[in-house]
Amino acid sequence: MRDVAVIGVGITNFGNLVDRSFFSLACEAGQKALKDANLKARQVQTFFLGNMASECLAVQGAPAAYIARNLGIRDIPCTKVEGACASASIAFRLGYLAVAAEMVDFALIGGVEKMSGASPERTLAANFAAMDNEKDAKSGLTFPAFFALCMQRHMYEFRTTRNQVAMVSVQNRKNGSVNPICTYRIPTTIDSVLGSRLIADPMHLLDSCNRADGAVAAVLCPFKRAAEFTSKPIRILACSQSIGTPSISDTDTLVEFRATVVAAAQAYEKAGLGPEDIQVAEVHDCTTITEIIDVEDLGFVEKGMGGPILEEGRFSLDGKLPVNPSGGLLSRGHPFGATGLAQIYEIVLQLRGLAVNQIPDVKVGLAQNIGGTGATGTVTILGR
């Protein structure tokens, strides 16, 4: 296995982009990434596209092929990768493996979801599709209810306070308020979070991310060749993936996501690093409580200490380990198939020194992504 570099990235604005098509979003991100990498479309040797629900939301199957042709790519394998909300980070991993294994020199990775414009029925169907529909959904579970169950249990077991959980939203929305790609750029307060309507009591609307349209892309090549294309190559130190426990009836805890724990252990070992070496992280804050569980599962704090340590400020922009400086899913919005690569995009910017909320002198950053109700997860560690 050889070392692999990220040599180009591109992103669209995220938001309710009603006048933008599925293809136009994907192509904007792809063209930006290729330009950033100084690479021509015809040089791309494999394309992995993260996308969860184009068949349902955009009524478009085989999206990797159509997007590739619209980018001027021909005669190479182009593959859609689906892992619910972790689709794009899994696509990234497959591109990384293809380059690392010396199968190709140049891989293009995309992530896209076009959610506005779909009927309420299709939007609902796409959302529930990521749950265990033979078990959990049958008994009335929803995504907010699942994460609310996690919140209740976390507050019960560890005396995490409701205010600490709400603070995740306050912190991330503050970070996102200056990030032009974010859908939600108005800061919020604990009172506003707890005053917003209940979606799965005790979870409020502002505890949860919301849908968005958006696309992201990245270009990978062998690290040894990266200098031909960029003065700031970013090294992929590890990119690990594991399934977890997709259904409640498969788990014995709702205060930990096994997929994250397993992927993190593998990623730290591969990178030869530990949680104490991470200087900035983008974690999967699909809801407020998810972020608290994430920072524990990643080993940034002891299990159960996510709430108080967040309250102390360790994960804020001027804290010891800034988490979600981009604003996270809570600010960016959550186009299912794009989110995983948007997190990696932010870490690449941090390592290049070009992020909106730039953390000083970042040498190692981490991105963590979850699909479904803990069905699958990835942990990616990047360095320079």
Binding site: E134, A137, G140, L141, A200, T251, L254
Partner: protein, 112 residues
């Protein structure tokens, strides 16, 4: 609808004895395929519980309704709707009783 006498049926792996909710195709722990049906007592403990204000597909008429992770024998966790009727919504640690499992739609109620 009368549900008295409804039985809570689970699946047990004959090799490692793990208890699972049906349908089960392989043991989730050991991958074993020798599976047998077992009847559980029908008594469980609330592991976590919330109110779904936004309903799942097919549950619109019930919203808001109570949904829980209920722990039963063999450390098995089950997703279930809680029909508390006139009683208080049970809290974490409270005992609940199995009511019905119509096509995998599990319902429990507070234990008297």
């Amino acid at each position: 609808m009368t549900t008295s006498g409804a039985k809570l049926i689970a699946i047990r792996c004959q090799e490692c004895k793990r208890i699972m909710t049906p349908p089960t195709y392989s043991c989730l722990t050991c991958g074993g395929t020798s599976l047998e049906q077992v009847q559980l007592s029908g008594t469980g403990t609330i592991y976590s519980v919330v109110t779904a204000n936004l309903p799942a597909i097919g549950f619109e008429a019930l919203a808001p309704y109570v949904v829980a992770a209920v722990r039963v024998e063999g450390n098995l966790m089950m997703t279930a709707r809680i029909d508390a009727g006139d009683k208080n919504i049970p809290k974490i640690g409270d005992k609940v009783r199995f009511v019905s499992s119509d096509d995998g739609r599990y319902v429990f109620k507070p234990l008297d």
